[in-house]
């Protein structure tokens, strides 16, 4: 239920961010949408308590929805987000993502990883892509925009997590971004 709620909120957030991003004041960043999907997959991966399958299932479901809405080949986003979720699971076992600076840096890393994974999946499946230079610039822009919006997205997700807490302790832990 918690994962389903997060996926639904992420989907709504993606729709809103996609519609609003073109109002961004900096022209150079308008074509680099933040990876809200990757942020969600990473959040699910970071907060995978003991089982990783529900987190990956949520990532795949969100990726599938985003593929449908975005008009891309179905499976592309799902695969990318599943891999991003897997990376987050690996990260969660080694480092603790807390504090604003760490969160921004990690969100930038998530944007970078998601963009690079997207490029790798396109290379693997021979999906048309831009020149190397354009791809690199786009990857960096996407990483930056994801870093900007990441802390806000994760704060929202923590609120959703807190709503599913059974005890005060769990609620506080969820708001702090700690895996209970």
């Amino acid at each position: 239920m918690r994962t389903a709620s997060l996926v639904l909120v992420a989907y709504l957030l993606c729709t809103v961010v996609t519609a609003m991003w073109r109002l961004w004041p900096v022209d150079a960043m308008r074509d680099a949408l933040p990876h809200v999907g990757a942020l969600t997959a990473t959040y699910l991966g970071l907060n995978a308590r003991t089982r990783i399958a529900p987190a990956l299932a949520g990532s795949v479901a969100l990726g599938y929805l985003l593929d449908l809405v975005g008009g891309g080949p179905v499976g592309f986003g799902a695969l990318t987000l599943a891999l991003a979720g897997l990376v987050a699971v690996g990260v969660q076992r080694r480092i603790l993502v807390r504090g604003l600076t760490m969160t921004i840096a990690f969100c930038g890393f998530v944007g970078l990883v998601a963009a690079v994974l997207g490029v790798l999946v396109r290379v693997a499946y021979d999906v048309p892509r831009a020149s190397f230079g354009t791809e690199v610039i786009f990857v960096l822009k996407a990483s930056l925009s994801t870093a900007i919006i990441g802390p806000l997205v994760w704060r929202l997700f923590r609120r959703v997590d807190a709503a599913f807490a059974r005890t005060h302790r769990e609620r506080d832990a969820a708001l702090e971004g700690l895996v209970p």
Binding site: A19, R22, L56, L68, V69, P73, A82, Y125, D126
Partner: protein, 299 residues
């Protein structure tokens, strides 16, 4: 968590990684959305449309009514640009008009066999009804003389009336003092075209146009009027205008009103005919043989 549950979890995770890869491969081969895809799109499209509509509305309101910080400065710049471009456009239009007039003049010079001199119209006094009374050109005493015919691309304009200094006045064909020998090509009738001197039009008249009781020689409105070439002023065949109406027809002679083809208000450049064209060669249609040279004839 037991080993079995952990193993199951990893197997599920592997399936969740492999399944999108397979779906992507299948989708890249096929490309057609399935019935599940269509159903999801049908559900999500209204939501997406609503979000886009709200965001567009908010963004549009913000951009149009709130975020107007630089609008005044931008407006000032645009107004200055607009003024500069208007002046530029007027200048370009004037140049284009001049070029067009000069092209007409060049074509007129090629068509006219007589010796001509180009001139620019520099002034045009007008009647109270805004009709041009005469034209002033930039050719003076050393170049033109009184009585020389003046033509434009549309046809005869008039004759030089006064010359002083570097300028000359042209009496228009619509002036009552003007008289030009004309011909109606359809009927062959000849007459003298004089101006009516109306303040509100450039109308002319032809009096004593011979009919000689021939029905086919009757002038109709719309008949073309051209110069006859008699009087050694205007070259023959220049279109002067068209018959607008028949004023009187007594069976022997007709009096008609003519609408000139030249609008003096639009004439910018003219040609002054310095000398009448040479008379046509009467033997031009006769084939001549070359005279034998030195009494011999080539084989």
């Amino acid at each position: 968590m037991t080993l079995r549950r952990r193993l199951l979890d990893w197997i599920l995770a592997a399936i969740l990684i492999i399944a999108p890869a397979l779906v992507l491969r299948a989708n890249l081969r096929n490309g057609e959305p399935g019935s599940l895809d269509e159903a999801i799109l049908r559900v999500t499209s209204p939501l997406q449309a609503a979000v886009t509509w709200i965001v567009e509305g908010i963004g549009g309101t913000w951009g149009r009514y709130v975020a107007l910080v630089d609008v005044e400065a931008e407006n000032r710049e645009l107004r200055a640009d607009n003024d500069r471009l208007r002046v530029q456009l007027a200048d370009t239009a004037r140049r284009a008009f001049d070029v067009e007039a000069l092209e007409d003049l060049a074509q007129l010079r090629r068509q006219t066999r007589a010796d001509t001199l180009g001139a620019r119209v520099i002034a045009a006094p007008m009647s109270p009804q805004f009709r041009v009374l005469r034209l002033r050109i930039d050719r003076g005493e050393r170049e033109v003389q009184v009585g020389m015919p003046v033509i434009s691309f549309q046809g005869p304009v008039g004759r030089i009336q006064n010359v002083w200094g570097e300028y000359a006045d042209v009496m228009l064909v619509s002036d009552p003092q003007s008289s030009i020998e004309v011909l109606i090509p359809r009927t062959g009738g000849r007459g003298i075209l004089t101006g009516l001197g109306r303040g509100d039009s450039y109308a002319c008249k032809i009096e004593w146009l011979e009919r000689a009781n021939r029905p086919e020689a009757k002038i109709e409105p719309g008949d073309a009027v051209v110069t006859s070439g008699l009087g050694a002023t205007f070259p023959p065949g220049l279109a002067i205008g068209k018959v607008r109406q028949v004023l009187r027809d007594d069976g022997m002679f007709q009096h008609v009103e003519v609408e000139p083809s030249v609008n003096p208000g639009q004439v910018r450049v003219v040609e002054v005919l310095l000398a009448p064209p040479p008379p046509p060669d009467p033997e031009s249609s006769v084939r001549r043989k070359n005279e034998p040279a030195f009494g011999g004839r080539p084989l």
